[in-house]
């Protein structure tokens, strides 16, 4: 070991750079994510004047959530990382770089600047060679050592001069940094000598073994266990398995209720992470008491249970959609909104019929006037039979009205199947459903006339630009739109960040024939919400923006030409009363590609009997017919004529017979 030819990093020149890179690679992304999350939070602060019965608990839940978001291991590690970086930078700035002895700098040797002309180089060389030439220097009073150094200096001056003037030497210098040509490459270790060969070397070996034999296998096995125990969307496999079993055994005759869904989701093992003592029954009771808006002994536990339920419902929905079960999916969405709004729509008939009104914060079930048929947000805001004050039996309704005005409603303009670059749907083509819609407020009446839209809205938002980017990726238009950001946040649900991240509509594409889901559900979460703030006049004059939503079909259009009927169901994940259900028709046509009339290159069709002709026929292109004469030709022709005659004759005959029959019957 002691005879090692390696150079060690005794002056700490190299290892700080390695360490700097190794730390910065993970540190920069984590810092960016922390900073961006800080900014996101500071942008929004929802203050609602309405405070639910459990407002104190909700506030403490949200605060602890925010705190845990700020002061977690990630933040601590990131701060520690930056401290390390500053330490390393200090070390680097205090280390002088010592160049090795054989570092060759011809300009420095000749004592000239790097951009000196040839003339200056020559003069400098002459001057120095006169000074150091072994014949010119008086060596009588020098030691052998001094004489050698003078000799070496003279050799160096010669080398430097050649490096700057001689072609080959110059090339060597430029290529290898040395006028003598390539030198032996030296390997170094970016660690100080004492760590490898000193008393610390066993320590390093232990670290090395620990990393290879313990840490690495541990990390891999941990990762693999994580992969095994959770599904792609983060649900525990046991929970996913439970949902699958439910759907396999789903009976089509059983009328599904939100209550069933809550009962089924309460068996998820995720609840055990909150408290290992939780049984499915307790979870079910907690959720039901929450949607009934009843007080609870252990409010914190209940909020924790409720907070993770919508996420479980989303994965339940995904599994239900994989089973193509529309009824299950729709009921799961209902359960999802029931939990977000803390509203038990199945409690009684009143809760079910007035669900759109009851979801508004501050509306009291016992106080509303059930004799009025104000069942929807639209009716409450537009064509009310009584004043909202009287209907809701409340003094101040401004906040409720403002809240309901900001609930986004979808107004469809056009919904059809499209194939990029085609004006019809060819068989076996990659089509997508394209929905053009307006987001409006429930207070907006009707929808603006199509003609009244602004020209650039029609040209850019309604008709998509036929650019290469849009044709290649039809989803691009959708992804360029802003995210749906809710202006009215439901007050009861504890985890507001979940609502913000999962606001929008779930879109199910369903076959009209058998009511089965034909495409994995997609979330409509990108749309232009600016229309909500328009006044009714502005809305009708159409200062609106049109938004787009698309679902790319994973399977190509059918082989057979025909009309196929589907339904696009959009269900809002947060609010009741913002759903749409529209039919979409897939009209598969096989229009032949029109041949260009003018042949640009003037190439004739290949002959029928040539190889090119045979290939063209295989491709379905036209070929030049070859006159083919043989001895049977004449007889064939006669036969054809005969057949023609018979056919036409029989046609006439049957016609007359029918007519005669008709006459007879009269």
């Amino acid at each position: 070991m002691s005879q090692s030819r390696y150079e060690y990093d005794e002056n700490s020149e190299t290892w700080p750079y390695f360490a700097l890179t190794a730390i910065l690679v993970p540190l920069i992304p984590s810092t960016i994510s922390i900073i961006s999350s800080l900014f996101k939070k500071s942008n929004k602060s929802h203050k609602s004047s309405f405070s639910p019965y459990n407002a104190n608990y909700l506030q403490s839940f949200r605060n602890s959530q925010n705190r845990s978001k700020l002061f977690n291991l990630k933040t601590v590690l990131t701060i520690f990382g930056w401290i390390l970086i500053s330490g390393l930078l200090y070390i680097i700035s205090n280390t002088e770089t010592i160049l090795s002895e054989n570092h060759f700098d011809p300009w420095k040797i000749l004592e000239i600047s790097e951009n000196a002309t040839e003339k200056i180089i020559k003069t400098a060389y002459r001057k120095l060679s006169l000074k150091y030439h072994p014949d010119k220097v008086d060596t009588s009073s020098m030691t052998q050592e001094e004489i050698d150094s003078v000799d070496a200096a003279y050799v160096l001056i010669n080398k430097a001069y050649k490096a700057l003037t001689d072609e080959t030497v110059r090339e060597n210098f430029l290529k290898y940094g040395n006028p003598d040509g390539p030198v032996e490459i030296k390997h170094g270790i970016a660690l100080p000598h004492f760590l490898i060969e000193g008393a610390f070397s066993p320590f390093l070996v232990v670290i090395y073994i620990a990393f290879i034999a313990i840490v690495l296998p541990l990390l891999v096995s941990n990762w693999w266990n994580g992969v095994k125990s959770t599904t792609k969307n983060g649900t525990h496999v046991t929970t996913a398995d439970h949902f699958m079993k439910l759907l396999i055994n789903a009976s089509p005759t059983h009328v599904l209720l939100v209550d069933d869904i809550i009962k089924q989701v309460s068996h998820s093992v995720e609840y055990l992470n909150i408290n290992t003592a939780l049984t499915p029954d307790t979870v079910y009771n907690l959720i039901v008491s929450y949607i009934n808006r009843e007080t609870c002994k252990d409010e914190n536990l209940r909020l924790n249970v409720v907070a993770i339920t919508p996420k479980l419902l989303s994965s339940f929905l995904e599994i239900a959609a994989a089973f193509k079960n529309t009824d299950y999916c729709l009921k799961i969405v209902d359960a999802h909104r029931s939990i977000i709004q803390a509203l038990n729509i199945e409690k009684d008939a009143k809760h079910f019929t007035f669900k759109e009104i009851l979801q508004l914060p501050g509306v009291d079930v016992s106080k509303i006037d059930t004799n009025q048929s104000i069942l929807t947000l639209g009716k409450l805001l537009k064509n009310k039979t009584v004043t909202p004050e009287k209907f809701l039996n409340k003094d101040k309704v401004d906040t409720i009205i403002n809240y309901s005005k900001k609930i986004p409603i979808i107004e469809p303009i056009e919904c059809k199947f499209k194939v990029p670059g085609e004006d019809h749907l060819p068989p076996m083509s990659a089509a997508h459903v394209s929905l053009k819609f307006l987001i409006k407020s429930p207070a907006h009446k009707g929808k603006p006339d199509f003609k009244s839209f602004k020209k650039d809205v029609i040209n850019n938002q309604f008709k998509e630009e036929q650019s290469m980017d849009n044709l290649k990726d039809p989803m691009r238009v959708v992804n360029l739109q802003p995210n749906v950001e809710l202006l009215s946040i439901p007050p009861y649900f504890p985890d507001t960040s979940y609502i913000e991240q999962n606001s929008g509509w779930i879109a199910l594409l369903v076959s009209q024939r058998d009511n089965k889901i034909i495409e994995a559900p997609k979330i409509l979460n990108k749309a232009d919400l600016s229309n909500i703030n328009l006044t009714q006049d502005e809305f009708m004059e159409s200062k609106c923006n049109i938004s787009t939503f698309k679902i790319q079909l994973s399977t190509p259009t059918p082989k057979e030409v025909g009309v196929y009927h589907f339904r696009l169901i959009l269900r809002n994940l947060t609010y009741f009363g913002s759903d749409i259900d529209i039919p979409v028709v897939m009209n598969v046509e096989d229009k032949p590609i029109e041949k260009s009339k003018v042949d640009v290159y003037g190439i004739e069709d290949p002959d029928e009997d040539s190889i090119a002709g045979a290939m063209a026929q295989l491709r379905g292109e036209s070929v030049k017919r070859v006159e083919f004469k043989n001895e049977y030709e004449s007889s064939d022709d006669e036969d054809d004529e005969d057949n023609d005659d018979i056919v036409s004759w029989t046609d006439i005959d049957t016609d007359t017979e029918v007519e005669e029959d008709a006459v007879d019957s009269k």
């Binding site: 005759t253 009328v255 639209g378 537009k382 429930p442 009927h565």
Partner: protein, 195 residues
């Protein structure tokens, strides 16, 4: 046998349980067994037209006709009972008879009963029947008309519009469906305060 929550009766070959989900499956299994025992053969007959009891068909047809006649005379209550009896007869067939034959009989009786409930303004009953009709005969446009009408009267306007649209997708020129759809759309707009 204490592993499963079931008990087995050796003479009637039936099993029973306390578990509700299991119970439905067991009832189905038991009914299959009882009809198999009554067949008195080693294996169930193949599902062919010959193994289909035609006497029962005649009776069902008769009951259906009676029901239709009563409907026309506006005697809805009696029509309802006639159709229900027809349905019970259709259900009472041995489970091993081909359902290809029994399904249409069951469907026509159920359609009649649904119409009778609707005429009696018992829309909840009609809604239940129409849901089954949609499950069994989704390609019959009239079933969607029944389903939608029942939904409309139960206050499910949005769902009714979707039902009518589904019917129209099967038969575009159905005048009743078109009319019902137009009316439901207006109702929906009224409900939303747009009109």
């Amino acid at each position: 046998m204490t592993i499963l929550p079931i008990t087995y009766n050796t003479t009637s070959k039936s099993i029973s349980t306390d578990n509700t989900q299991l119970e439905t499956e067991i009832t189905q299994l038991n009914s299959l067994y009882s009809s198999f025992i009554s067949l008195n053969s080693d294996i169930p007959p193949p599902p062919s037209p010959t193994s289909f009891t035609k006497e029962l068909s005649l009776e069902i047809k008769k009951l259906h006709e009676t029901g239709q006649g009563l409907l026309r005379q506006n005697r809805f209550n009696e029509a309802f009972t006639a159709f229900t009896r027809g349905l019970e007869l259709a259900k009472s067939r041995s489970s091993f008879e081909p359902f290809q034959g029994s399904l249409p009989e069951f469907l026509v009786c159920l359609m009649g009963r649904c119409d009778a409930s609707m005429a009696m303004k018992n829309y909840q009953m009609a809604l239940q029947d129409s849901e089954v009709l949609i499950l069994l005969g989704a390609t019959i446009p009239d079933n969607h008309l029944r389903h939608g009408t029942a939904q409309l009267h139960c206050g499910l306007i949005r769902e009714a519009v979707a039902s009518f649209q589904r019917g129209i997708s099967i038969k575009g020129d159905h005048p009743l469906l078109r009319g019902a759809f137009a009316r439901a759309t207006v109702l929906l707009q009224l409900e939303n305060g747009d009109l």
